[in-house]
Structure formats: structure tokens, C-alpha cells
Symmetry: D2
Subunit: 404 residues, 4 copies
């Protein structure tokens, strides 16, 4: 490792990354550039400025990346109906490549030769940050303090903060005991009681959704308009990608939609328990499948379904900036050209129910053929006999050999 | 086609297959053997006997196949977490191979050289019946009246029945306007208003589940015990496969669980709209993924996920009795050796929530490694650096070339 | 089927299609348009004009499609390293979509509402012609005489020709007893002695290649230049796609390269024996893999390899004009952006040996890292420990549980 | 890392592992157990005994594992038609899991808590040894001297040997400048001139095969008998697995068969150049595909082809002892039940030509259906129309929408 001249730190303004900031200054004796992004986590990012300034930072980047995040990361991923291990909507995973990209771009702008982040050595996020960074700038140096230092508990962090007079603004109100991450797509919870996979999380852990029990007794109906696989309007009101997500988070969260409680397999080799709230994402997945069911060719849909788990693993494992993810994306995007139309949904106490789908221009649903009534010759039932007989031929030949 | 000497008919006792029975006697001038199976459709099968006798049938097979169906078809399919096109749990598809098998076995026993069924020439069921039959007996002759005759509407059927004095016992109470199919795994609805994919089905269409709105205001908790991937007990009470399904249908249906409304792609090439109630199956899928999340190796789980859509298509398209389905099943079954343990579920107004999973013998969840607390050296965070660096190497080399 | 007003016939000028021409005129009493294409089969196409004129045809299309064929069909297919069932290079399959396309375009130009071809009802070619035609013009009517008429042997064809005074110009010299098909990519042989899969074909069956035994005792070296996955020059001489293939056919055929003798699985359900000569294709596959080995990312290459068999089946089965083939092609083409460079080959008595590959601009081979000598720190061997340990973690956890 | 009490070393008797032996004694101050295996590398293993004794080793394991290797590793792998990156037959890869297994078994027998090997930190072999070892004994400690020590060149090794009086018996005759590995399946060459991918290897590098140029001018014909996918006899003489390989190596090598020169992607992230001689394996792959072409169902064969690249990567990357490889193997092995029969091959100057395949009991080739002659009604050509029409239906519906 050559000498670190300047390091760009992914800085939230919280205790951990404030300690890291100080620790980088001390241990590496180098200038630190802070980068703080609003990805829709629902907390103010501006306060990070004062804290950074208080620790002597000159280059402070604070950015609102909500539209970039929704448009260039979340939406492309949902075109693939992406779900990891049958359940997880990849809320944390999909934010990391954007942060990695900005860290590298800021390093390039500021002449830094290193980046740093606050992810632990046990998790997926370190991998996602670092694979992205290496792919975008192969000579970048990466400082992952959690893999290096001896501050291995909350108490040692607090002691370090006190000793170094780091401004730790204690949050008002309830402090969560969980390890959390949030952005427009989800909020996640790990650790503590969740480390026992038999234990049900307490109701007051959840922050973005009401419980199905507390949700309204009347359903909410909404209509989503799709253009090339992306939602472009809600109830006929055009919305930007980030607005789509904010609106859907609100209405779905209010109807108790989007909670998930799973055991997942981390890329670094262990199983872990996670709880997630993904209100908008839960609606988006269901609705996207519905509009595709009407407008996508069967074999295209099936091929997408077969490749989806692999695409999901690429995102989960941190390979967003890999050539194989990009290659798959060209195929997924190409498949969406005709995914245009509307989906009508009923939201009710945790349920997302598709109650209608339509596409004026691109529906492949042909009532004249599908009907149980007289179809006027649109479909010749006798064709089925030949279809079946030739599909059966190889099995008939094999059976005949077997019986001989 | 050589001469038909005797034909085994899949006979429900309803109007359609009663007309077919008579039509076969008239047109083919041959003996007919009837086969009626209880697959858990929820209607008596015994009345079919008197009707068949009234039409002069001598060989009448009426069989309770619920345990065979659950044990040898539904359960193996759920080991694969099988879902067609992201949504459909294959309730109709999975029953057809069993019926095809019995039709052929009965043909062999009774010396018949043909079988017949009441599936139309537009649907998937004809394919499933016939591929199965051909695979099991390659020289069987198959009579599919809907592809041959000119009785193309309900009225012509009724006229035929009246003219030939076929006993059409009108059902008491409401007659469904929908084309329906039912067995232990599901009940399906097609046709009529559903032929418009924008139209929401009326509440009174659904028969097996209450609406989420009408479901109890208190959740129900249940515990399922798994052995080798199959449910063997509910709330610690050992149950046979069919009993598992009956019990789960009852408790899930009472909690508004299992309704589905989709547009699907038929094997014969058209899109069609279907509504399904699959109360037990909806619970079983969720719970099976949960017990696998704890006990299955990551890469095994991912490989299963990647192959699942293909397995689902095989079942949907009628290839249960094909060598490729059997080959895949050996792999799926082998994967389930350690899928043992318990899953705790909360059922509430349409929601199936996993709230706990445990396996005394086979959990791969290692708290000592996964913990956010001090792990006493079980995991060396420094290993992550090498892991990331070598996984990044190919991308770094490529980026370096690109930047040159 | 509505009335046939005019039919476009894929016309070779040989006995079979000449009889079909006459038969169409007689049976369908309609105007016939003939279409004859030079795809590099090595026979003059112009003589078809006089024959067609002699039978009263007014619209006669005779076209040299060699460049279209090589550029838009063969080359894209080779970007995927396409091989069917591990052996077959799809020479016949890949020509059919082009013919189907021209048949439909000519039907559109001439106001015909039907097309016709000379493929039998047992083979793959009927499927390839017809799937293509239906995909490009869904209301087209298709006349496949071999599935309709009673001229089921060569003798009945000859009788019919004589009776109707069809000019059957007997070929001079040897007449092959085999069913053959030829174009720039290959020549194929089926039938007769080949119907016994234990029988070795006689040496004089082969037409485009010398036997390895008869090939020169000195090897030939050639260099191929690739741009974006396609060959653009041979021995530094720029060549059009068709010229590439003609040149390679010549040099490879002269060195005994490209013979293949296989049993393959037809889409219609039976196994069949085929022999093929594919001199250029055999060289192209080997060379393309070589240039990719140097310039393609590992995971991109592996994903291509996993999808290749499916792509090959699509081509073999006649789905060139399907949306799923087109979707896959976007991905394959995207992967080729950096597949630039040179491959040096040694051709010798049936062997194609890669003896060098280079890419000034896009090689991902990094000698400084790969070397067994001192690499000056380009690669840190200690990284491997962490890489292995985390990749092993899930198996270690499982083993520890098992041993407990 | 806890203290090393005893270490089992994979010991060849050559310079490298002799230096490692001494170095382990010195640096770790622990007892060393040596393990030397005959895997068919073609060199005596017994001389390793005296060398080990000379360095004070008490527990010396020298084993002939050729039959284990061929039967339990090579043969199962060939059932899958395994090829890595389209070319490489995995000769080195497939030997490592057996060595890993024996190292662990010997550690268990001798009470050792560590193993050691001579693979470098840049290659695949370290991964294969160590993943296998960890999977079989999760608490094993692994010493990989090449990742630890400072003996980084051949000269430093020689100096170390001289200084420590390690008996380095200089090989008589030619010493290869290449890094080599050999076993029953292949011999490999890496390094030196091969590090330039444009350089053709010199003829005298190759050791197991004559060049095609030097091979006999007359072909050799052989017949291989298969039972359940494995070769059990050559020219009707029953052979054990290892004998099959020895015989085929001899006859194929004498005919110039089995040379390969490629650039491959290592699991640790770099591309490398390797040359391989795999005479028996080259014949086995070709012959196995041939017997499968006759006896395997089409869809089973295609599924195998689609999964093969993944299986190959598992073997290449060192995951032989993983649950996913074992799961795939159950499927592959199940597919081979009917792969019985004979293949006749012509070997000539580098070419392996299949000239016949037959299976009395399991051929699925049905001449009565495949024939171009009159088939007596075995196949109804009219079935093809329905087959094509329904396969085209989805594309026709889409085209009709598009044209509207």
C-alpha cells in the first residue's frame, strides 16, 4: 500500500463515521473529504456539514441523490423483478453502487487516492462498496476501519469519541437497539433479539409501516402507469422516479404493506437474520409482474425468470459495476420496450392485490382466442392434437423401447 | 387410428363428461369404463356411480386418491418452491399426471385401448392428460371429444343430454358461471367476466377463502414441523400429507389467505386470465422457504432457485412423466435431506408471516459468527480484504486496461 | 383456410420443387411466384429462371444473398459460440430464417397470401420456415406439399414430372443418393446408409473437404483479425463476411477440416443421423473462442457459455425471429464490444490448432500478474488466504454442525 | 491460529516440497507426515520414501490411488461431458479433491491438526486443496508456504536446499523449464515462453503425445463399451477405470490426440496460458457424447448441456466437496442409467472421429420413424402442422398486434 494522501469518507454524521473520521486523521495523518448523501433515508443530511466542519474538514460533499438512486438503480433493478432468495428486495444492496461511484468520482475530483467506509468486516456492504470502487478505479486504496482497528464495541467507540471530543449529538426520542440502514427503497434491521431466528420481532421495531392490524379497515385503490417497464404516473399524475417511490412508500406503509422477516445468506459465507420494510418495493414488484403478464411474450418472461436469481445475486453480492451485470441489463432493458400500460391495485392491511391490468398499445391478451365461448375460428382446436403428438414423440419412442 | 375396443373416461358425473360418456358409446360404439377420483375437490364422488350405472357402464372406478395426490405430487413439487410465472402455484397442473396415470393403469387392467377426457382443445389440461398418457403407454389412443365434436356450447350440450335422456342433476343453490377446477391444492376460476383482464372479480366468486376484510380480527399462530422438506406435523400433531393440506386449507382459508388473480401464458400459446384460491399452498410455500433459509446451503438454495422456473414450466406444460422432470426431482429431493425443523407462522387477514424458524439438528445459522457483538475470534474480519481483492481482480485488470 | 390467390414458392430448380410448382398450379389453381437464392450452396441459381419460365411463371426472384446470410445470420450466431448438442454448427438451421424472411417480403411485394416450401413433415426445416413466416406475417397461409400430397417416393415424383412434362434436367456425373443441403456454412447429408448409426459413411460421400488422410503433409498457418467479435480480415487482407467464409471454406476444406458425423435430436421429436461438412465454421468457432479467451471477462464468458445451449436450441428449432432470440442477441452482441484482436491458427489434416492470440487494445491477459516469476507486488499472494477462507465459510459451518 | 502439533504434507519428493518439508520442521517446529500419491503421473513414487526418511520423517504414506482417481473422480466428471470454458478438460482440477481428502484422512489418523501443500498463492490449486480440506474438516489448519515465506525464486530454493543439506536428486535427462502437473488424465505446462499468448509452444515441450505430423499414416480403430455412462471395455476387453485411461492414453497419444493450448480464467481472478495433453480424456469426451446421442432423451441431454458449464466451474474452482456439486452429481448420475452401448472410433493424426454407435438395449434411435423412405404410418406428417401452428401462436398474436 502506498502512502495515503487524502481519503474520501462515506460520512453519515453519526457516531461510527464520526469516530472513523477522527481515526483516519490520527492514524493515517491525512486530509479527509466527507461525502454525505440523501438517498431518501428520511433523516436530514445537512447537519453532517457542521459536524465535519467542527472536525476540520475542508471538502464537504452533501448531495441529494434521490432521483439518481431511483432512476438509475432501483428502477432498472425492478425491470428484472429482482428478488434475492425468494424474498429480499435488495434495499441496501442497490444503494451501495451509487455511493461507491460518488466516492470514486469525488476522489478523482479532489485528488484523493483512498476512500473509506463504515461497513464491518462481516457484512455484505464492505464487499459492495469495495468491488464497486475497484471496478471504477483499480488503483484506489480502501480503508475499512472495522477490519483494522481495535474499537470493537459501542462502548469503546463512545470512549474514543469522548476522549477525542467528537461531537456526538445524542438523538432525541427512542434510540433503536438495531443495526439499521435506510433509503428510498427500504429500512433494515439487524442484530440484538433478531440474532435468534425463532424470536418474533417486537412491534415497536418497525418504523415505516403500520402493522396490518393497525391499518385502515377500508382498502385503498391505486393505478400505476408503466412506460417501458417503469412507473411514470400514479393515478394518472405523472411522477418522477423518486416521487413514485415516496408516494408509494406513504400509501403502502399506511396500509401495512412491505414488512419482511427472513434469514438470508451473506456473500461472505454466513447466514444472518434481517427484517425489512419495503413498502413501495413490495407494490412495485407485484405491479410490474402484472403489467408484464399482459405485455411480455411468454418465452421472454420465462427467460427473465430463469436469469433473475443470478441477477439478484450479482446485485446482492456487490457486482453492479461488473460487465456481467451490465450485459444482463442490456437484455432486461431490451425486454421492456413493450411493457406499457396500467395496473390497478387494491392495498389492504398488508395485502397488495392486482385487480386490473390494461395496455391499449401492447396487450398480448387476445380475448378472441382465449375465450371459452365461440371464437369464430380464431383458434383451430384440432391443431392441439398434432402439437401434443409431436411433443410426446420422444417419450413415446422411449416408452416403446422400455416396454419391449 | 386402429379400432377402439374399450375406452376409459375421466368421469366427474357432471354434465360435460356425462354427455361425453353417451357420445363415446354412440360415435365409437364401444364399451366405456368410467374413472372418478376424489382429489379433495370437496364434492362427493360416489354419486357418479349411479349415473354411470344408469348409462349402462359395467366397469366403474371410484377412488379416493387424496393421499396419493398430496404425498406423491403436491409435496414433491413444493420441495422445489415451485411457482409458475412468479405467481401461480400449479393447483390444476399437478393433479393431471395422477389422473393420467390411473387412466392408463385402468386401461391396462380392463383391456381398453383408449382413454378419453373432457378437456378442451384450447387449454393446458388436454396436453397434461395426453403427454402423461403417451409417456406411460405409447400406443394408447386418445379421444378428446372437444376437439372432435360439434357440441360447442352449453346449450348444444343440454340439448344433447335431453335428447339422449342423460340424467343431468341440476345442482342446488348457486351455479357458478365460471369454468372451475378443484382439488386439495386449489380451486380455479376462468371465463366470463374474467376474460376482461381489467375487471375485478366479484366477491361472491370466491368459494374457499373468506375475504381479508371478513377474516378474523385476531391472528392465528401455527407451527409446522418439517422432515426432509415435507410437513409432517401441525402444532406438533403428526399429520398425513392429505391431512396437512386439509387442515391448512381450513385455517388459511378462514384467515383470508390464498387468493390469486393473474394473467398467465398457456402452453398452447395464448394468454389467459385465471383466479385461484390456494390457501394451504400459499402457507406451504412461505413456510418451506423459511425452513430452507435456515437449513439449506446457500449455493444449493441458489441453484434450486435458478432451476425452479424450468421445473415449474415442466409441471405446467404437462411433463410430469418426462425423464427431465424425473431427473430434476432426484436433485431436488437430494437437496432436502437436511431440511428438518420447525416454522412458526402468523396468519392474519390474507397475510402469511413467518415469525420463527428453528432446527435442532440441521440449522446452519451460526449465532457465534453472525453476531454483531464480539464473536471471540470465530470470524476473522481481515479475511474479507483478500476475499474482496481477489473477487475484484478481474475487474481491476479490465479497468486498468480501459484507463490506459 | 381462405382462398389462395397467389403463392410464393422457395424454388431450387430441382426435381422436388419443380414438381411442387406444377402441383401448386394444378391443385390450388393459383399464380406461383418463384424465389431462388444463392446462399453459397455452390450451384448456379440462374438456371432456375428458364425452368420457371418454362412452367409459365411471371414473377421470378433470383437473388444473391450470400453477404446478407454471412453478415446478418452466420456471424451473429458465431458471436455466441453456438453449437447444438455439443457438436452441430447449425449450418442448415441458420439459413432458414433468411429464406422465410424473403418469402414473406416477396409475398408482400407481389400481393401473395401464401407461401410454399419443399421441406418434409418429418424434419426441422418445415418448422423453421413456418415459424419464421408466421412471426413475420401472422395471416400468411402456408402450403407444405409433403404434408398434403400422395407423392411419397422418388418414383412417384418422377412419374408426376414425366406426366406433366416438367423439365427435369438430369445432373451430369455422380448423383448423390443422400438428402443434402448446402450453403456458405455447410453441406449436409442424411438418409440411406446413414440411417444405420453404426455404419461409417463412405469416403466418396464427402464433397467439400478432402479427408485428413489426403490433406497436405505440411500445415497451413493463417491469421484472423477480429473486430467486435466478427472476422474482418484474413492474413491482414480485409474481407467481407461472405468472403471470409468462402476463403476459410477453401483453406480449411483443403486441410481436411470440418467433417462431422452425429446423431441429433430433431425438434419434432425423433433422433436422426446426419453428416456435415463445415470447414469455415469449424475454424471460426475455434478462433472466436481464442480471441474471447484473451479479451472477454471471465463472468461474461461463463454466462455466455451457460446460455449458449439455449440459444443454439432456439436457432435449431426455428425461433430466429422470436422475441427471446432477439433479446438474447442484444446481450451477446453487447458482450462483443471488446472482442478485438488477432488469432493465429495452424491447419493440418483435420486439426485446427490455435497457436497465438493477441489484442493490442483489449487483452485482459496481464503478464505482470500471471507470471510465475517475481511480479513486483502486482499480486499479493496473502490475499488468497482470505479469499479461500470466506469462500469456505459456509462449508465449514456445515461441516462443524455435521461433526457435532 | 492455534499451535501446530503435527502437519500432513502433500509431498512429491521433488525440490519444492522437499524444501517445504524442511521449512515446516524449522519454522513450525512440528512433526511432519508425508503423503505421496501415484495418480498416474508416470513417475515413480517410491523414491519419496527414502528422501522423507532422510529428513527424519516417521509417518510416510505412499499410495497408489490410480483406481480411486479414475473411478470416483474422473469417470463421474466425464458423465457430465465436462469442459471448462469450452476447451479445458480439467485434468489438474479433478485430482485435487482426492488429495485433499487423503490429507484430511491422514491427519485424522495421525492426530495432526494441520496440512500443508506446495501450491502457490496465485493459482487455482491452493483453492482446490483448501476448500476441500475445510469442507471435510472445518477446524483444520492449513500452511501454504508459498503465501508465507520469502523463498520466491528457484535460486533461493536451491540455496535453501544446499544450506539445509536437502537431498535434491537432479533428474537425469532433460529438465523441463515449464511448471508441470501430471496424472492419469493429463499433463499440463505453464510459465516461461507460454506467458506470451502469441507464442507457439515448441514441439519438444509436449511429452505424452506425438505430434499429428509424427503420428502413423494409418488410422487406428477402437471400440468402447459403456455401462451407465462409464467405459467398461475397450475392444470388448473388460477394463478397470484406471486401465481404461492408461490404454486410451497410450493409443490416443500415439495418434497425436489430446493437445490443447489455451488462455483460461483462473478463479483467483487472472487470465493464464496453459498447454495440456489429455489423450484419453479427449477420446472419452467425444465417445461419451456419441453414446449419449443414441441413448439419452433430448431434454435430458439439453438440461445436462445447460448445467455443464456450471458443473465445470465448480470442479475448476475447487468445489468438488461442496453440497451443490454433490447435488448436481445425483442428477447427472441419474441421467446415465440407460447410457449403455458401444461407440466405434477412428483415431488418426490428432483426429477423434466417431464412426459408429450402437445400443442393443437402450437406443432411442428409431429407424422406422427417422427414415426418409416410407415409414408405414409410424409418423403422421400432418401432426407437424398443429405442432407448428401452436408453437407459432404467441408470435402470431404479437405480430398481429404490431401490425395493427
Amino acid at each position: 500500500m502506498s502512502e495515503i494522501n487524502k481519503v474520501v469518507l462515506a460520512y453519515s454524521g453519526g457516531l461510527d463515521t464520526s469516530v472513523i473520521l477522527k481515526w483516519l486523521q490520527d492514524v493515517y495523518d491525512c486530509e479527509v473529504v466527507t461525502f454525505t448523501a440523501d438517498l431518501g433515508q428520511g433523516e436530514e443530511v445537512e447537519p453532517a456539514r457542521a459536524k465535519a466542519q467542527a472536525m476540520g474538514i475542508k471538502d464537504i460533499y452533501i448531495e441529494d441523490l434521490r432521483e439518481d438512486f431511483a432512476r438509475d438503480y432501483v428502477f432498472p433493478m425492478f425491470r428484472a423483478n429482482t428478488v434475492y432468495e425468494g424474498e429480499y428486495l435488495l434495499g441496501t444492496s442497490i444503494a451501495r453502487p451509487l455511493i461507491a461511484k460518488r466516492l470514486i468520482e469525488i476522489a478523482n475530483e479532489t485528488g484523493a487516492n483512498a476512500i473509506s467506509h463504515g461497513a464491518t468486516g462481516k457484512g455484505n456492504d464492505q464487499v459492495r462498496f469495495e468491488l464497486g470502487a475497484y471496478a471504477l478505479r483499480p488503483d484506489i486504496q480502501i480503508i475499512a476501519p472495522w477490519r483494522e482497528w481495535d474499537l470493537t464495541s459501542r462502548q469503546t467507540l463512545l470512549d474514543y469519541a469522548e476522549k477525542h471530543k467528537i461531537p456526538v449529538e445524542m438523538k432525541k426520542g427512542k434510540t433503536s437497539p438495531y443495526s439499521m440502514d435506510a433509503n428510498l427503497l427500504h429500512i433494515s434491521y439487524e442484530g440484538r433479539v433478531l440474532e435468534d431466528p425463532w424470536a418474533e420481532p417486537e412491534e415497536d421495531m418497525w418504523r415505516w409501516t403500520v402493522s396490518p392490524e393497525s391499518a385502515p379497515d377500508k382498502p385503498t385503490y391505486i393505478e400505476l402507469t408503466y412506460r417501458q417497464g417503469d412507473i411514470v404516473a400514479i393515478d394518472d399524475v405523472p411522477c418522477s422516479p423518486a416521487t413514485v417511490m415516496e408516494q408509494l412508500n406513504k400509501v403502502a406503509g399506511a396500509n401495512g404493506i412491505g414488512r419482511l422477516d427472513i434469514v438470508e445468506n451473506r456473500y461472505v459465507g454466513m447466514k444472518s437474520r434481517g427484517c425489512y420494510e419495503t413498502p413501495a418495493g413490495t407494490v412495485m414488484l407485484k405491479a410490474h409482474r402484472a403489467i408484464e403478464s399482459l405485455t411480455l411474450d411468454r418465452e421472454v418472461a420465462h427467460l427473465k425468470d430463469e436469469l433473475m436469481p443470478r441477477y439478484a445475486s450479482l446485485v446482492y453480492n456487490g457486482y453492479w459495476w461488473s460487465p456481467e451485470r451490465e450485459m444482463m441489463q442490456t437484455m432486461i432493458d431490451a425486454s421492456q420496450a413493450n411493457v406499457n400500460g396500467k395496473v390497478r391495485l387494491k392495498l389492504y392491511k398488508g395485502n397488495v392485490v392486482v385487480v386490473g391490468r390494461a395496455s391499449d398499445t401492447d396487450s398480448l391478451f387476445d380475448e378472441s382466442i382465449a375465450t371459452f365461448e365461440d371464437d369464430g375460428g380464431a383458434y383451430n382446436q384440432k391443431d392441439a392434437e398434432g402439437f401434443i403428438k409431436l411433443n410426446a414423440l420422444r417419450m413415446r419412442i422411449a416408452a416403446a423401447k422400455r416396454l419391449r
